[in-house]
Amino acid sequence: MTVLLSEPAPAAGPTAAGPRRPRRDLGVQALIIASIVLVTIGAVVPLVAVLATAFGSDALPRYAEFFTSSVDLTILRNTLVLGFLVGVCGTALGFLFAFVQARLDVPGKKILHVIALMPIVSPPFAVATATVVLYGRRGVISNGLFGIEYDIYGLDGLVFVLSLSLFPVAYLGLLGMLRGLDPALEEAAMNMGATRWQILRTVILPLLAPGLVAPFLLLFVEAIADLANPLVLGGDYTVLASRAYLAVTGEYDTTSAAVYCVILLVPSLAMYFGQRWWLNRKVRTTITGRPSGSVHLVTGWARWPIYGLALLAAAVIVSLYGTVIVGAVTRVFGVDNTFTLDYLKEVVLGVGSEAVLDTLTFAAIATPVAAFFGLVVAWLVVRHLHRTAWLLDLGGTLGVAVPGTVLGIGFVLAYRPDRYIGDFQVFPSLVGGGAIAGGAFAIVLAYVVRSVPAGQRTAVGALTQLHPYIEQASTDLGASPLRTFRWVTLPLIRPALLTGLSYSFARSMTSVSTIVLLVTPETKIITSQVLSAASTGRYGVAFAYCTVLTALVLVAFALIRLVVGAGVSLQRTVTSERQKR
């Protein structure tokens, strides 16, 4: 039932894998327009506003300066090295957890799943702080337990913290894909005498390759755009994002910042197009969307070392989040361990309650919108658009490719003033205290734009694995494309929808860099409160905010799972296992 297709790149001809281009249906056209409008308003216009600054006449000499300055070139190299290492480590970590989850016969997998999701639910800032507290020079574990004075500031600390904070994207994506793999392929290989290792190397990994590249790309781009961690843990290690931030917040120099950001965009786009080329080179699809046969879980001795590795990583994650929680209810963790509820009280009942409510409301609005558009953009890109697909795909990715601080500034530059043509107001002010809805609209829009790419990437990966014949069968029988999407495609890529929803919510709740520039007196946001508390040394309050935030996101995850369902593949595993007995 499964065919391995090796075909030339579809982009080269009209379409090799799909049908001739059908006349576009009205619903599809409406979706295309909606996606374009969202991408334009949310990402393109702010970016154009920043680019206009970056290529203004006074900015041009800065480029020559950049490429002759050894200091600036070191910063560029630092950025690329960091992105690469985090991409590799984070993807490996995600694969490790996904493999354990999907293919090993070991106890405690449910708990491991929850642990693997923890890092996306709190601001990276919390992880960095907890890392310093536990594994820093005077860390409770590194120094207190092992007596070493390890200098965590710099590249090693950054890779450690960023890999741990970002890997869940890789994990969720790869898990969905591992479960979508047809076990029949492996059975076939096994019947022909292949060993477990050979199957992993020659069957599973090549099939997962598009899925492995997607998280690598995402982690690379997120790592080089990350701001909070280099500021907390960077030490001597300066990267472009933190340099650009410094230029904005310290030197009031939006021109230099825009220049740094343009230079930061180049590797992001290079990674993006590299990945596209790579994906188009070979097309591997499993023809049935719903895998048949049963998964053979690894039961031999080989599972234990792999399991051990995953447990070690899980222990580190738990220790970090434990610190956040314990830190929220002790006066000063590690120094004065007296129990106190003052910090939590302040957050839940005091000044923080307003921020908690505002953030929850905005995130709840943004999440379904972001997840929906993530899927729709992916679907349009993979199935419906051909020559212009890359444009929409790129547009959708902009929310992640563009560093948050730049997007924030772009929002301010583009949407701060009311827009007039003559005396006719065409566009009201969206940002700031005087804007419509007290600036809330801009915050929700920023949430959506920043969250779309995760769902989109995962869905593109999932759809690439799904052969178009399945959808064609539906349209051939007379269903409209939208109907097909709703009743055929969507159920098949449900894990991607789950990822999209979960990740969008978590990302909205934890977004820092863009939001910091958009908060107004009427809209208070948890993450900006965290930064504020932490930078004035009130770690207890910061930890309390993070604890509340983590709890809220976990509850939301449970709700989303309840509503969307755990995914068809899981049910299938259960039923097929029942059949075995």
Binding site: T40, Y153, L246, G250, V332, R387, G537
Partner: protein, 356 residues
């Protein structure tokens, strides 16, 4: 990508998209901003550079005693300035409160502030007021060393009490200081060196270069080194003395504040009216009130131990008395003017240099 075969429809889409971008991005932004001035809605929007607690307590007290509503956003001085600059023409804030006056001076130079000399300002000593009337000082805080005595004892070093003590090789990677570009605190330290060198910026940077091998990391926030010292990440933090006192209060009794014998710098926290503020009348009311004893006695109740500029305000016994210290003559206006260029030099000549 193959461009030759772009379909007619693609071209149409492209044109529509371009038009949309052009309308929204390049369409005229109304920047005169004058239309709204004078319409006062009885609310003050404050961009606040002090700690969250202090901002909250201050705006609340202001509403209680004047009946005028007030809300705030807390932003560091660099961020606040960027926001005010971005909103030029249609400002969202009326008043800027808290944070070193250097930033206010820079904003005044850029034409982002409206000069306002409050009738209440007469009691404030002249050195804490802007001669051009852009800002008025609401508090003063001296720069100091915040030392972790436990750690220093382990290393066998005395608590530093001069700038030269910080250059001790035994303190390698054991000093915390912020980056002057983001932090008013660190810029105060840098400008103090300039003042000590008799205005010679080269000599001041020379000192910072010598200090560089002992610095673990240039943090973003000025008060962060206090936390790092408290946790033992570094032995000495170069911060405002009131931030160190606040950290001790937060539960770190091992910390000790000391001051350099050569003389130390200080910040003057400002308050100013934003240019073209929509609620200018209420904004002026806020500034008038911020200079009263009632406003200036709020600090200690929220662990902010800066020295009040109003000589009649009660001073908490936890506040460092400025009269007991050797202070350099700190010219905030001059410092603000030199800020951008000096920070750039610091970044290139000091912060990015290899440590050895």
């Amino acid at each position: 990508m193959v461009w030759t075969g772009v379909s007619r429809r693609g071209a149409t889409w492209g044109t529509a998209l371009l038009a949309a971008v052009a309308v929204t991005a390049a369409g005229c932004a109304r920047t005169d901003g004058g239309a709204d001035v004078g319409r006062d809605s009885g609310v003050v929007h404050v961009v606040c550079g002090a700690t969250e607690d202090w901002c909250a307590a201050t705006t609340k007290k202001f509403t209680e005693s004047t009946g005028v509503k007030a809300d705030f956003v807390r932003l560091s001085s660099g961020e606040a300035l960027a926001r005010i600059k971005a909103g030029k023409g249609s400002t969202e804030f009326d008043v800027w409160y808290g944070g070193p006056a250097d930033g206010y001076a820079a904003a005044g130079d850029e034409g982002l502030l409206e000069p306002y000399v409050s009738p209440n300002a007469t009691v404030i000593p002249a050195e804490y007021r802007d001669p051009a009337g852009y800002w008025t000082g609401v508090y003063v805080g001296a720069l100091g060393f915040c030392s972790n005595t436990k750690l220093l004892a382990e290393k066998g070093i005395d608590v530093p009490d001069s700038w030269a003590d910080l250059l001790d090789p035994k303190l390698s990677k054991d000093i915390g200081i912020a980056h002057p570009s983001t932090s008013g605190t660190a810029y105060t330290a840098l400008w103090t060196q300039v003042t000590l060198a008799g205005g010679d910026q080269g000599k001041a940077l020379e000192y910072m270069r010598k200090l560089h091998p002992n610095v673990l990391q240039y943090t973003k926030s000025g008060s962060a080194p206090g936390q790092m010292t408290a946790r033992g990440e570094v032995a000495v933090g170069l911060i405002f003395s009131h931030d160190c006192v606040a950290t001790i209060e937060a539960g770190f009794p091992d910390l000790k504040v000391s001051f350099p014998s050569e003389g130390t710098g200080y910040e003057t926290g400002g308050v100013a009216l934003v240019k073209n503020a929509k609620n200018a009348t209420s904004g002026r009311k806020f500034i008038d009130w911020a200079l009263t004893t009632e406003a200036q006695e709020i600090g200690p109740s929220v662990k902010a131990y800066q020295f009040p500029t109003n000589p009649n305000a009660k001073v908490s016994d936890k506040v460092v008395k400025l009269a007991d210290l050797t202070l350099v003559k700190y010219d905030a206006v001059e410092a603000g003017r030199a800020k951008l260029a000096l920070n750039k030099r610091f970044d290139v000549e000091v912060a990015q240099a290899p440590k050895s």
